[in-house]
């Protein structure tokens, strides 16, 4: 680079800047080919320059053209780009065709740069607003991604309102470190923690010691984000792409861009959906008779009495059989001038659960504004305030018979549990809690108030003939307070002192979380005469994270008070996290005539979470894509019109969990004296981030003028220095210690085919099929084989073992047998099939998702066997010989015979994730009815998980007792059953 020249150009441009903007005005209109409506917000650029304009609300634009002939490049996201050659000033009227292949969109390539998808060397998945929420409104953002792109295993932890979803990109990336992707929204690092509320485990005793436990299944906080605000999501699935996020990138990065305003007339959009949800797969009842009740419990007489009184009751239906009402209201406003545009989104979601007194309520307000100070200085601000509240009920594992799920396993139809006229509930004759009483009186609420804001400043420092220099600064903050309120009133059966209770528990858990991030970049573009294009970027980043969780749990409550001070005993615990990272990033991209596109980059990161806080860890990346079709090897009439082989390699890291550098005493008290007690986990002051290196190979191809497009990707990612919470000899006084000790490998294939199968004026059909699989292997383990994520060998658990699949499930198969492999949580493959039919004003879309294989550890049935209530107790499907009934077999030949085989089950499913049918009222009719006051009226029906096909012997194969992180997903202990949703929609623009 010749910087003296550049400097001269800079000076020249500053002095003569006003002159340069003087040219001849060209006007035009851009029309949306699909709706024949004006297309606002389309980009119009003069090819080879950076002069550009956007269309206004009426699709109109004006642009200054200095020299003729000139070529206008007109593009808009989701449409095929068109070029128009101008030899003189004239009006330009262009109709953009909807693009089936989204080839024209840009995808992220560096921290401050994007690249056209056609030139990308990585398989970056993207999900548009239409894909995300266009078919049916999703409950949560992360849940709505399932089946919509390749390479991910996305699974709900339970059906509880308010979410709780595990997202794993390209296999398991960490065993004890974070394995959930990083979420970035408009440049802001978003916190996605799950914070367990205090008080639940004090009652359930799921994990010993009264600590908050992961078995309460808290919501992960990405659920706060309103899917309706989202314009586009890009997913960096592995280190080859996510190296730009350095030591936070290894589990992948999900980059979300929210909607922006469009200049022109202010558009007010309104949409309203109503609907309901309903349990997918209730298990039903055992075929009770007086004889069976007598033989099982000696309660034949009670059965007969209840039968004669008409008080036999299906308690599963009583608890899980509700239809929860759903309402989503969304109002958005978009508009602005040439200089300033804004987008305002206001949405309110209310959803009741399938269990009474559970539900989810969310209000989100968004204001995004963009302002152009001058042609060269642009500021974009995004702000979002969210207020959400989830009533989650009381589910999953317990050791006290108190969760609704466990209580139901002991509840027989003749048990009378209904309250009397004064609201007094009878004690459960066969269990320590009455599930109807628990449901009606206990509270488990998570309420969030969250504010997310970000700003991006873009400054064109100078623009020249063939080079320009841009400065990009970003800042963002994500702040929330989460209040977990847990109340178990003293009236509850298990709270009464005569039943061994503690006379009521109330708990408040307050979490304050603040993330802040800053970055500044310089981006330089330089183009040589023969279309060799260099993009150089360099910059620094700084991220700060802090979290403070204070839980107060009190017992022995005064009267019916619920304040934590209105009690005899209080327990307090606090957890704090504080981390600051600093990094730099440098990247050079070279594009040779859109034929060869190469990129080299490196990120350096240091963090207060490392042993040496000022040691830099380097994460390099390199990639190359070749657009063979641009070389002219084959003619324009070839059936293959696009073929791009690509290769990319990158490295990224995962931080050790906060605090793993230290061995810290716990505190406890004994008879009023405070004591310090050795912790379970031994820290390690030399722990380092684990490092993932990913090699990705593949090609993108287009056939028959892009009617058919194909994407094929193979990847191999190796995670070294694995962060393991390795077992240590328990006689040390610790049970685990943090070590970097092992290597795992994920290999996989992702294939996506999109077909614009049919296209005419009246009828269009687009279809997409994708197929993907992943296999993992523990290639090296420097600590002894260890188990995690289950309840022991006689019930099945995960085992980390060198040379074996990382997700293998092992267990014993009889007394004194060695453990053997009984299954694997990794699916054999996944496949999704989505279709969109447009016939005149009707649109029908649906998405099928097939997960083949992958096993769960299902303990729900075993618990109901012990209660004698399993619906399939008297069937003969579990015993391989078919001789012993299921209930007896699971108990006698299963757990008591130390045989875990009956509990490891295939969790395959085929489900109709989404289906939607919409009708757009013809614009002529709308015009006639409303005289222009209303436009774009759309009505429709949609549904979520309406068809679910699986053999799995419980409510839903998508389930996790231990929440979303790490390996231990897929263990089931009496969860909140999942539901399907039926919705009706109406939307219009004003």
């Amino acid at each position: 680079m010749n910087y003296t020249l550049s400097l001269r150009v800079l000076l020249f441009s500053i002095i003569f800047f006003p002159l340069l903007t003087f040219g001849q005005q060209v006007k035009g209109t851009v029309i949306d080919g699909a709706s024949n409506q004006p297309l606002p917000g389309a980009n119009v650029i003069i090819k080879g320059t950076s002069t550009g304009a956007n269309t206004d609300f009426d699709g109109n634009f004006t642009i200054n053209v200095e020299n003729f002939p000139a070529t206008l490049v007109i593009s808009s996201l989701g449409f095929e780009t068109q070029e128009v050659v101008l030899t003189e000033v004239r009006d330009v009227n262009v109709t953009l065709k909807e693009s089936a292949t989204s080839l024209d969109e840009v995808v992220i390539s560096g921290l401050a740069s994007t690249v056209k998808r056609t030139n990308a060397a990585n398989s970056v998945a993207s999900v548009s607003a239409a894909d995300l929420a266009g078919v049916t409104p999703p409950q949560t953002l992360d849940g709505a991604l399932a089946g919509k792109f390749t390479g991910a295993l996305i699974s709900s932890n339970s059906g509880a309102p308010g979410g709780g979803v595990s997202v794993k990109l390209r296999g398991i990336t960490s065993i004890n470190g974070n394995s959930q992707p990083l979420y970035i929204i408009d440049g802001v690092y978003i916190d996605n923690s799950s914070v367990s509320s205090g008080g639940l485990n004090s009652v359930s005793g799921a994990a010993s010691g009264g600590n908050p436990s992961s078995q309460d299944n808290a919501t992960n906080r990405i659920a706060d984000i309103n899917p309706d605000d989202i314009e586009n999501i890009e997913i960096l699935k592995g280190a080859s792409a996510s190296a730009i996020y350095g030591s936070r990138g290894a589990a992948g990065v999900i980059i979300i861009t929210t909607k922006k305003g469009k200049s022109g007339k202010t558009v007010l959009s309104f949409s309203q959906s109503f609907g309901f949800n309903q349990a997918i797969n209730l298990q039903g009842q055992r075929n009770w008779t007086a004889e069976l009740a007598e033989s099982q419990y000696g309660e034949g007489a009670l059965y007969t009495a209840a039968l004669n009184n008409g008080t036999l009751r299906d308690y599963e239906k009583e608890v899980y059989g509700e239809k929860g009402f759903i309402s989503n209201t969304n109002v958005s406003m978009s508009g602005g001038s040439d200089k300033t545009t804004f987008y305002v989104g206001l949405s309110r979601n209310e959803e009741e659960g399938i269990v009474k007194r559970t539900g989810y309520d969310k209000t989100s307000i968004r204001l995004n504004a963009d302002h152009r100070f001058t042609d060269n200085i642009k500021l974009a601000i995004t702000t979002n305030y969210i207020n959400s509240s989830a009533d989650r009920g009381f589910f999953n594992n317990d050791n006290t018979g108190t969760t609704l799920g466990v209580a139901l396993t002991n509840t027989r139809p003749w048990d009378y549990l209904l309250p009397d006229a004064n609201g007094n509930y009878p004690d459960h004759p066969n269990n320590s809690s009455n599930p109807l009483q628990t449901r009606d009186l206990m509270t488990n609420n998570e309420a969030t108030k969250r504010f997310i804001t970000g700003g991006t400043l873009d400054v064109n420092l100078y623009r020249g003939e063939n080079s320009d220099l841009k400065f990009v600064a970003k800042a963002g903050a994500d702040h929330y307070t989460l209040t977990g309120t847990v109340i178990f009133p003293k009236e509850l059966q298990f709270m009464r002192p005569d039943q061994g209770g503690v006379n009521g528990i109330t708990a408040v858990s307050n979490t304050t979380n603040t993330n802040a991030n800053y970055s500044a970049f310089l981006v330089h573009n330089y183009q040589t005469a023969n279309d060799l294009n260099f993009t150089t970027q360099a910059g620094v980043t700084n991220e700060q994270f802090s979290q403070n969780v204070v839980r107060v749990i009190s017992s022995d409550l005064i009267a019916s008070e619920t304040n934590v001070d209105q009690s005899a005993n209080q327990t307090v615990n606090q957890y704090r996290l504080k981390q600051e990272d600093f990094g730099f990033y440098v990247q050079e991209s070279i594009n040779y005539q859109d034929k060869l596109i190469g990129t080299l980059g490196v990120r350096g990161d240091k963090s207060t979470n490392n042993g040496d806080i000022n040691e830099l860890f380097y994460y390099p990346k390199a990639s190359l894509a070749a657009n063979l079709h641009n070389f002219g090897f084959w003619g324009d009439d070839s059936k293959i019109n696009r073929f791009k082989p690509r290769i990319a390699y990158g490295e990224a890291g995962t931080f050790a969990a906060f605090g793993s550098l230290y061995t810290l005493y716990g505190s406890s008290s004994n008879d009023g004296n405070v004591g310090i007690t050795a912790p379970i986990i031994r820290g390690n002051s030399s722990i380092t981030p684990e490092r993932q290196g990913e090699l990705e190979l593949g090609f993108d191809a287009g056939f028959f003028d892009n009617i058919v497009s194909l994407e094929f990707t193979y990847y191999k990612k190796t995670v070294e220095d694995l962060l393991l919470q390795s077992n240590i000899e328990p006689s040390t006084g610790f049970s685990t210690e943090w070590v970097n000790a092992g290597t795992l490998e994920n290999r996989g294939i992702e294939i996506g085919i999109n077909v614009a199968a049919f296209e005419s004026d009246d009828f269009q059909w687009n279809s997409g099929v994708s197929w993907y699989k992943n296999t993992s292997e523990m290639t090296e383990l420097n600590v002894p084989t260890f188990n995690l994520g289950g309840f022991g060998n006689s019930l099945g658990q995960f085992q980390i073992e060198e040379g074996k699949s990382v997700t293998q499930i092992v267990g014993t198969t009889g007394p004194d047998t060695p453990v053997s492999v009984l299954g694997d949580a990794e699916p054999d493959f996944q496949m999704s099939f989505n279709n969109r039919f447009v016939y005149k004003d009707f649109t029908l879309s649906f998405l099928w998702h097939w997960k083949k294989g992958g096993d769960n550890i299902n303990l729900t049935k075993l618990l109901s066997d012990f209660g004698g209530t399993s619906a399939d107790y008297d069937d003969f499907t579990v015993d391989p010989e078919g001789l012993i009934n299921n209930g007896t077999y699971r108990i006698e030949n299963g757990i008591f015979a130390q045989n875990a085989r009956p509990f490891v089950e295939d969790a395959s499913y085929l489900r109709l994730r989404e289906v939607g049918l919409y009708y757009i009222v013809p614009s002529k009719s709308v015009e006639k009815w409303f005289k222009g006051a209303v436009a774009n009226i759309k009505v429709g029906f949609s549904g979520n998980n309406l068809v679910n096909i699986f053999d799995y012997n419980s409510y839903d194969p998508e389930v996790s007792n231990f929440g979303g992180n790490g390996l231990s997903t897929g263990v089931e202990v009496t969860p909140f059953p999942s539901s399907k949703r039926y919705m009706f929609h109406l939307s219009a623009q004003f």
């Binding site: 006290t400 400054v459 500044a520 620094v540 209080q570 704090r576 004591g675 000899e729 040390t732 260890f786």
Partner: protein, 450 residues
Amino acid sequence: MKISRKFYIIILTISIVMFTSCELEGGESLNGASTTSISDDLSRGELPQAISGVLSDMRGRLNTQIDVQSILGREYYYFTSSDPRFEGDVVTGNLDNNTFYTTAPWGSRYAAIKDVNLALTGLENTTSDFSEEEIASARGLLNTLKAHELLMVANNQYTNGIRVDTSDPDNLGPFVGYDEALTTIIDLLSSASIDIAFAGDLELPDLFPLSSGFDDLRKTEPVTDELLPITAADLLEFNKALAARVELYRGNYSNVLTLLNDSFMDLTGNLGKGVYHTFSLSGSDFANPLFLALNQESNVRVAHSSFIDDALPLDSRVGKVVLRESPVEASGLVGEYDVWIYQSNVDNLPIIRNEELVLLYAEANILINPAESVVAINIVRNAANLDNYTGALTPAALENEILFQRRYSLFGEGHRWVDMRRFGRLNELPNDRAGDSVPEAVPVPANENQ
């Protein structure tokens, strides 16, 4: 262009700030005291906390330990709807080496031992102005507690062995068999007794508060009858009591008698006198984990039917169980009586008490002085509302009688299984179902990599 210039200044400022802020500071642990803060230098203020920590950790998973020992000794069954392995694995005797009933008691006892080891290292490295008596009393107490915890592990593991040297996590000592473990434990108790004796009449509350579970050791002012602060000499009686138990296990009967003499044994006193774990609901304290209300359904401890069947008429110790409103059944096991040793969730749980000491005295005297043995037996019998012993004075008869009294006196306190094993009589314990059996020892946890 004016706006642009302002922006150049802003850019310049941002760049400078970003580049100069690249040195990181901080990196704190935040959420607790580092263990090295104790082991590197234990201060006067930290000593009470370290000792309370040990006492607190000694209660960890005691329920699992005592439940397993009581089920193996066929004293009671524990049925819980949420974990069937108490009626499965533990009763059938198919104990897995990687399941909580094996690993939790082991890990919890060694966690308390870790607390002791850290505090002992801290005492060695301390720079505080402790007197030699103060250090000796703290060290003596810590080693006594450590010996107790090692004994708890050894009783479970028996011939499978335990580790006795665990102070360096990176270099653990070898596994030793039961006999060698008992030798180490008695040596530890005896060196602790020398330390405690050295401290003499040192009043401990000034140095570290002990829980009210030690109150029975306190003496009263002879004149005013006022309860005096606990002293090192009082602690010595606890140390000797534990040592007597260990020596009895080792068969050194004359040592047992000497030790009992120096212990808090009181042949005429309250049999409940002893040292206890305490519980409360306040703050981060624990509730008594062995308490369950009567007539529960999904979570019950029910006496083995033989406890009622074999009881002598009028034995008041049968009051440790209460007839249920309706029997409870689980997987073919039936219970008609709820265990009712602890009647609230803050009841104390014994570490060692006079009733056991009296029975130790009886047992140690079987060969040495059978008549004295019967005196002790009668103390226990009379306390339970029973007439004097009228059986033979042969060792075999006395052994039977003492085992019988221990069974009822120490019901549900983790002794029965160990006692029957001591006399090679595990095969006499009842098995209610075809596949049930009583194992001799709990396996060594898989993670010990033995």
